[in-house]
């Protein structure tokens, strides 16, 4: 064991394989648990892998040297969101104004809620600025955080946690609010919870997934334009 472990720990393949094994186990558990939102596979996988890294003393850079292959696939997967969108082209054109209004309202709400809750509950300025763009996809959010004085790497983590929060509670909340239209549900998931919300929305259905993917992209643009303005106006 003493001879095997250093070999395993040094091999990037170990960390890629671990991610795949843990994710599939978490996915199995989620399905066994009748897709209970609290057993969200992303949440379970991140918690399990983080615990393993902490216990074995492996640093994040070493883990990422193997797992970055999956991270890389986020790019082509984002491009692939054009396909469900294209299939829903008709639906999209019929609801374009409602979509624009919902998206804009949600974008402003996301930024204001982050600023207000962070400020009201005594977070540091750096943390508040890292929270502000957390509803949009990581590359945009990190760019915004840097621009307004947040910590980009912290923002990357907060973005993922926001996505998980949306994926776990979004469906339940939309049911409680009697939002039953698939288009509105999709736009809400994509605006609030970017790609992870969209992954969940795709599981809910094709229409929900397509609208979520579109909302995710558009909210990235809206948030990039609105956040610096709102921050300057409210926080000086």
């Amino acid at each position: 064991m003493n001879a095997v472990w250093p070999q395993l720990a040094a091999n990037p393949l170990t960390w890629l394989t671990l991610t795949l094994v843990v994710y599939q186990a978490a996915h199995w558990l989620w399905r066994r648990g009748r897709m209970n939102p609290l057993l969200n596979p992303v949440l379970l996988s991140i918690a399990t892998i983080s615990a393993i890294l902490t216990l074995t003393g492996i640093d994040y850079a070493r883990y990422f040297s193997g797992a970055h292959l999956l991270h890389f696939l986020l790019g082509p997967a984002t491009v692939a969101l054009a396909i469900p969108l294209y299939r829903q082209l008709g639906q999209l054109l019929r609801s374009v104004w409602a979509l624009a209004a919902g998206l804009l309202a949600g974008s402003v709400a996301a930024i204001l809620a982050s600023l207000a809750l962070g400020w009201g509950l005594g977070a540091s300025r750096q943390t508040i600025m890292s929270l502000a763009p957390k509803s949009v996809t990581s590359p945009i959010a990190m760019g915004i955080a840097e621009q307004i004085g947040g910590l980009p790497s912290l923002t990357a983590v907060l973005v993922i946690l926001t996505g998980i929060a949306g994926a776990v509670g979004g469906g339940w909340l939309l049911d409680r609010l009697h939002v039953h239209d698939d288009r509105a549900r999709g736009v809400a998931m994509g605006t609030a919870a970017h790609g992870i919300g969209t992954a969940r929305a795709l599981q809910m259905g094709e229409v929900t997934g397509a609208f979520s993917g579109l909302a995710m992209g558009l909210n990235g643009i809206a948030t990039a334009l609105l956040t610096p303005v709102l921050v300057k106006w409210l926080m000086g």
Partner: protein, 119 residues
């Protein structure tokens, strides 16, 4: 077009998107521009190749797996998050709930308005 061709199409769109974003210093990430380009391409072509459809559907069916490597980055900031856990968890949970509610309710109201005006 086969599976390899489909992956190439996705990567070409991403590459063009990233180049456009860099050259014009746009605040939008390359893959999102790539998504718009592929969408426009499909609209102009008026059709979705079966293999591209299959490849995209496979990639998207495993979308949540792809967020795990970035999410594990939580270990790097564990101390900072622990020291400001209250505002951070409030912003994460309440902030996300408020965003979902505002977006969903606004869009539902407008969809109903549109339906009402047409009748």
């Amino acid at each position: 077009m086969n599976v390899l061709g489909s992956i190439t199409v996705l990567l070409v769109c991403q590459l063009i998107g990233e180049t456009i974003a860099k050259v014009f210093t746009l605040p939008v990430p390359g893959p999102v521009i790539g998504m718009v380009l592929l969408f426009l391409g499909l609209v102009i072509r008026r059709g979705l190749p079966t293999d591209l459809d299959k490849t995209a559907t496979f990639l998207l069916s495993q979308l949540s797996l792809l967020f795990i490597p970035a999410g594990v980055g939580v270990v790097v900031h564990a101390k900072l998050i622990a020291s400001e856990w209250l505002p951070i968890s409030a912003a994460l949970v309440l902030g996300t709930a408020i965003t979902i509610a505002v977006t969903g309710l606004t869009m539902t109201a407008l969809l109903k308005l549109r339906k009402g005006s047409r009748q």
